[in-house]
Amino acid sequence: MSGVLVVQEAGRNRISFEALAAGRVLANLTGLSLETAAAGDPNADIFIETSGLPPATAYVVQHPLLQNYTSDGYVLAFEQLIRTLQPSYIVFPHTYRVRDFVPCLAARFGQVLIGDVTAIKTGPSFSRHLFQGKMNATYHHQGDGPCFVSVQAGAFRHDPPTAGKFTIYHFVPEISANEIRTRPGQPFRASSQTVDLASAPLIVSVGRGIKDAENIPLVQELATALGAELTASRPICDNGWMPLERQVGSSGQTVAPKLYLAVGISGAIQHLVGMKGSQCVVAINKDPNAPIFEIADYGIVGDLFEVVPALTEAVKAAKQ
């Protein structure tokens, strides 16, 4: 058979359902059937929650060696599933795990993952960002063989489940312990994670545009004047200019304040996923084409070293 297979990730339900929505777009465009699969326990809520959504078929990929994720285990298991089902398209959520094993899996079929896709259109053609969001690119797949796609978090809207009939098939791949070359440890959290930014109503966030650690007080003054928390994008924390627990983005915290004021942040997708739920976004950046302006409600194009002190004064004046 030939269809669209959506591979979901238990524990990453939201983005998995978005992948399912993307799979549905692809199935509608191509007229192919839609099926879903995930590794893990058939009682996991990923299957229970999926049960109300078409497709009506799910493959539970089960094996004791898949209990802890390893790239080797997952590549072997899904290679066998794909060879059995022979789908034309395989759609994944673009998670860290997918980034870890799907490039290998695709290479086994002589294929390349079209990763981090934001839209699927007729053709089918696939859109994704280039240059950290400054450009959009359209790709297509050519030649025989399955097409591997992963979709970006938040790019496809998933529908709420409704009651429906659902069939689960069990798929037990052949894997032996000596084929698993890596030994993963249990996930842990950095102990210093003490600042809870998720509930902060006002946030001033600083990025690469600040240029130097000694300029941080400039944005701190603005944050203080507003009564806001000060956060940062990844490069600032990588440089040690701000503590790691104040990092916003896919590898840091996810925030949704009333006001998110981005200072000198270009808006790479890894940052945007951590803050795009904000009610009102303000961007101050010298580059009018910075992707942050795509999601900003208000923008000031200019030199932050002039704009930020002026804004601090204006905020202070307004509060008097």
């Binding site: 790239s71 860290y96 980034r99 490039p103 695709a106 290479a107 002589g110 390349v112 993952l113 990763g115 960002h129 280039l130 240059f131 950290q132 969001g133 450009m135 959009n136 690119a137 359209t138 790709y139 297509h140 797949h141 050519q142 030649g143 063989g145 070359r181 890596t182 030994r183 993963p184 249990q186 996930p187 842990f188 950095a190 006002l202 690469r208 924390c237 990588d238 627990e245 590898s251 915290q253 006001l259 009102c280 580059d287 084409n289 992707p291 302006f293 795509e294 999601i295 900003a296 409600d297 208000y298 923008g299 000031i300 030199d303 002039e306 704009v307 002026a310 804004l311 905020v315 307004a318």
Partner: protein, 256 residues
């Protein structure tokens, strides 16, 4: 220990990129290029490992001739020698095509460890290192912040989502893709820059590596992204814009 670091030359992160006339790539003529950021962290990790345990660091990079300057930069920071795969069609090769070039250049070196950044700042595919591992039949780990040698191989610290981490044990040889921020990056010293001039950079071509370049993924066109929101740009002097913004936040958005 022999460590290979695969690096990429990309447009500088604050470069204002413009789409080329054909709408298929960007205008490269007046762009400044730099070492891809996470590749810089991969190089730093390799240099620190060989400082601690001894050995050799070899950088490999594919692309047009200008890539040579980025290889020299890596040599100036302390890498011992370079392999430059000269090809002018890097843009039309897909990740598998590029990984095949790198794997073909790396294989005869028989390294103990291959490091690269987790993704490039231009294409952002984040796949090349993982595919190189697959092509060479080696185990891999991605998004690595810290590498430690053990008696049996390596213990690495891997970043997971939302502030979580895990450690992974794996045997050598192996491929690791390095996340930014695990180490502090060094600058090239004057002495380093001087020494780099005498270090060996071997030139290889795609033809002599015998690698097929037919892509399965084709980049059709490049466009400016469409705005998701209608952004109100506040103009005037810094002072005027700041005053207008406070007004808007107070009375229009009502968030102050």
């Amino acid at each position: 220990m022999k460590i290979i670091v695969a690096i990429k030359q990309v447009p500088e992160s604050d470069a204002q990129v413009r789409i080329d006339a054909a709408g298929k790539w960007i205008e490269e003529a007046d762009l400044q290029f730099a070492l891809n950021e996470s590749d810089a962290y991969a190089l730093e990790e390799a240099l620190q490992l060989t400082e601690k345990h001894g050995g050799e660091v070899i950088v490999v990079s594919a692309g047009p001739e200008r890539v040579g300057t980025t290889i020299r930069e890596a040599l100036a920071k302390g890498a011992d020698r370079g392999l430059q795969i000269v090809c002018d069609d890097l843009g039309t090769r897909d990740a598998l095509g590029v990984a095949r070039l790198l794997a073909a250049a790396i294989k005869p070196e028989n390294p103990d460890l291959i490091l690269t950044g987790l993704q490039s700042e231009d294409l952002g595919l984040g796949q090349t290192g993982v595919i190189v591992a697959e092509l060479l039949g080696l185990p891999h780990a991605t998004l690595i912040l810290h590498v430690e040698m053990t008696e049996t191989g390596l213990t690495v610290k891997r970043e997971l989502e939302e502030g979580w981490f895990q450690t992974i044990d794996l045997p050598m040889p192996a491929v690791l893709t390095i996340q930014s921020g695990g180490n502090k990056l060094r600058y090239a010293t004057l002495m380093g820059i001087k020494r780099a001039k005498t270090k060996e950079v071997r030139i290889l071509t795609a033809e002599e590596l015998g690698v097929d370049s037919t892509p399965v993924i084709v980049l059709e066109r490049v466009e400016l992204p469409q705005k998701q929101k209608c952004t109100q740009i506040l103009g005037g002097t810094a002072k005027e814009a700041a005053a207008a913004l406070v007004e808007k936040l107070k009375f229009e958005a009502r968030v102050l």
